[in-house]
């Protein structure tokens, strides 16, 4: 029982780290980015290639995955995404689905369509008992790393100049521009960081999330649930949403394997119908 809770929290934390970048894209630029999962997948494959082919230690591969996904994100944002900010949502959807299809096919071409596993170091495998609760070492690591990331994110957002600029831009883009904040640059940096975090999450969670070319499509709905249910005005909203989703999904798969997916999608629809702005928002009139 508690083990399920524990696994659910690990899963939820992972979902949060991957999708927090998406919350910014959506909240700041009002951009529907369905390709966010592709960056997570690239990060995961980057770690996979480094660890399994070149023998890089697992921990060293994580920052590389972050940088790799962030670089690709930065390039994609400056070269492609930038053309779509003022377009209709339909065009953004088409464009990003196109990107997803292309990355999936490319990964399939270069690395094959089978599911891949990163060789974890032996000290991360197995589980130990903690007052009768079975705790997987690998999942414990995920929780620790993600908790660290959440704290750092909260500090950056709340206590740095960049963070206050970002919050200002999310709250009201026009006024922020009027105050002389370079919203485009803030956005480009945040977008890259968001992609990097997605890549890090993809690398960290390769074991749980199953790394294969159709990863972005399979998890697209999960990332979207996190941001649309959690709202985009803070990071607490998406955080709570992802923890709930993680626990719900793991528990659903464990207790009612036949109806797990069904329940989650139904709950999502109900929440969206009742609170289109998200569960944890202050009810802005944007």
């Amino acid at each position: 029982m508690l083990t399920i809770l524990f696994d659910g929290i690990a899963y939820g934390m992972l979902l949060f780290v991957i999708s927090c970048g998406l919350a910014v894209t959506l909240g700041l630029m009002n951009f529907v980015n369905l390709a966010h999962g592709a960056f997570a997948m690239l990060g995961g494959y980057c770690a996979y290639v480094l660890v399994n082919f070149y023998g890089v230690p697992f921990f060293a591969s994580l920052p590389v995955a972050f940088l790799f996904a962030a670089m690709i994100g930065l390039v994609a944002e400056r070269s492609l995404y930038v053309h779509f900010y003022n377009r209709s949502h339909l065009e953004q959807v088409l464009f990003t689905i196109g990107l997803v299809f292309m990355t999936s096919a490319l990964v399939d071409y270069f690395l094959g369509s089978q599911q891949r596993f990163i060789n974890l170091p032996s000290y991360l495998q197995g589980r130990f008992d903690f007052f009768g609760v079975g705790i997987g070492k690998y999942r414990l690591l995920i929780i620790l790393v993600c908790a660290l990331i959440v704290i750092v994110l909260q500090l950056i957002l709340g206590h740095t100049r960049f963070g206050s600029r970002l919050r200002a831009a999310v709250d009201d883009q026009r006024v922020a521009r009027g105050l002389g904040i370079n919203v485009n640059r803030v956005f480009a940096l945040t977008f890259a960081a968001g992609c990097g975090l997605a890549g890090l999450g993809g690398a960290l969670g390769a074991e749980i999330l199953s790394l294969e070319p159709h990863f972005p499509l399979k998890f697209m709905i999960y990332f979207l649930i996190v941001v649309s249910v959690g709202g985009t005005s803070s990071i607490t909203g998406p955080f709570l949403a992802s923890i709930l989703l993680g626990i719900g999904d793991v528990a659903g798969k464990y207790y009612a394997p036949r109806f797990g997916g069904f329940v989650i999608y139904t709950i999502m629809i109900v929440v969206l119908v009742l609170r289109p702005q998200g569960l944890f928002t202050r009810g802005t009139s944007k």
């Binding site: 959506l26 529907v32 492609l80 053309h83 779509f84 377009r87 949502h89 339909l90 065009e91 953004q92 959807v93 088409l94 464009f95 689905i97 196109g98 990107l99 997803v100 299809f101 292309m102 990355t103 999936s104 096919a105 490319l106 399939d108 071409y109 369509s113 499509l217 709905i221 979207l224 649930i225 649309s228 036949r258 109806f259 997916g261 069904f262 999608y265 139904t266 999502m268 629809i269 969206l272 119908v273 289109p276």
Partner: protein
């Protein structure tokens, strides 16, 4: 000028706008000619005609009412399953089956429209996607009814009007599907050129203004959503009648994405886009898919990005137009 005069003028203007252009006659004659010109390709052509109807149903939502849907396959698949189950349990009379499937999918659309037509574009995307996923899960889990992952087989298809057999006869199936497509196209064309159709376009342009001139926005959107769902259901039923098995691929995300892509390739908001788009898509798939079947996905993605970057409402035609314009400018330079 009296009110009666204004009405008469408006009526005349509408009539003029909905008159058939000569190119449309040429188009449908060419379509009819494919029956005789490509006898060996009738299986592919049947697919094209069914996808055309499906894309047409999405065009009603997207091109006329501006509703973006990522889960339109929900209604397609629902129509197909209803058609198969109805044919197995009651009668295999094809037109009755189509009618039942269309009504069932339309009712589903009517109910789900209450969920879809709230909130912003993003909420709609999510809800349509969610509905399709729920339908997929349902079809997967209710295997006692739907056959689950194995699919549903053994659906009887009687001859049309008792005299025109269509099962396992590619040419007859094609003629049958084409006739259904044409009839439903004419109906859709009449609808979008009616005052109702124009009010939809007004809502698409600016919902606030539309409601302030007295259009009941929500009710019209619900009506068109149900209509689009019914059309999709008929398309699903047609596919069920012309292929031996109804399976989960009828409802999956790939189908929703493909139909959106076909419509976008052909262009939205003039009804022919779905037909042109699905023809281009399926023919390209046949050729490219033959060379590198697994990397077809890459080219779909590429096409989507290019179209999203350069095309506007008219799909491939706007790209052609842009290239032509660019060439003309190049020539005009001294």
């Amino acid at each position: 000028m009296s009110t009666a005069d204004t009405f008469r003028q408006a009526d005349a203007a509408l009539k003029k706008k909905r008159a058939w252009h000569w190119l449309e006659y040429v188009f449908w004659l060419a379509v009819a000619a494919t029956v005789f010109l490509f006898p060996s390709q009738h299986t592919l052509l049947t697919q094209i005609a069914i996808w055309s109807l499906f894309a047409l149903s999405l065009d009603l939502l997207l091109g006329y009412a501006g509703i973006v849907s990522l889960g339109h396959a929900a209604y397609f698949g629902f129509g197909a399953y209803v058609a198969a189950l109805f044919a197995i349990n009651f009668t295999g009379e094809p037109l009755t089956v189509l009618l039942v499937a269309g009504i069932a999918a339309g009712l589903l659309g009517l109910v789900t429209s209450l969920l879809v037509l709230r909130g912003s574009d993003l909420t709609r995307l999510m809800v349509t996607l969610g509905i399709a996923l729920v339908m997929y899960e349902l079809a997967n889990q209710m295997s006692w009814l739907t056959g689950g992952a194995d699919g549903l087989t053994g659906m009887p298809v009687n001859p049309v009007f008792g005299v025109f057999p269509i099962s396992f006869r590619p040419t007859n199936s094609y003629i049958y599907v084409l006739c259904v497509l044409f009839v439903l196209f004419v109906v859709a064309r009449r609808i979008v050129h009616s005052p109702f159709g124009y009010s939809l376009r007004a809502i698409k342009g600016n919902p606030l203004r539309a409601s302030s001139i007295g259009i009941s926005t929500n009710r019209r959107l619900i009506a068109v959503y149900a209509l689009g769902a019914a059309y999709a259901g008929v398309a699903g039923a047609l596919l069920a009648q012309t292929t031996p098995v109804v399976s989960l691929t009828y409802i999956d995300f790939q189908r929703s994405a493909d139909v959106l892509l076909m419509l976008i390739i052909g262009g939205t908001g003039y009804l022919y886009g779905g037909i042109v788009g699905s023809a281009l898509f399926l023919i390209a798939q046949k050729f490219i898919g033959n060379v590198t079947p697994q990397y077809w996905e890459f080219w779909i993605g590429f096409a989507l990005v290019v179209i999203a970057l350069f095309a506007r409402d008219r799909g491939v035609f706007s790209i052609i137009e842009r290239v032509a314009n660019a060439l003309r400018k190049e020539k005009a330079k001294p």
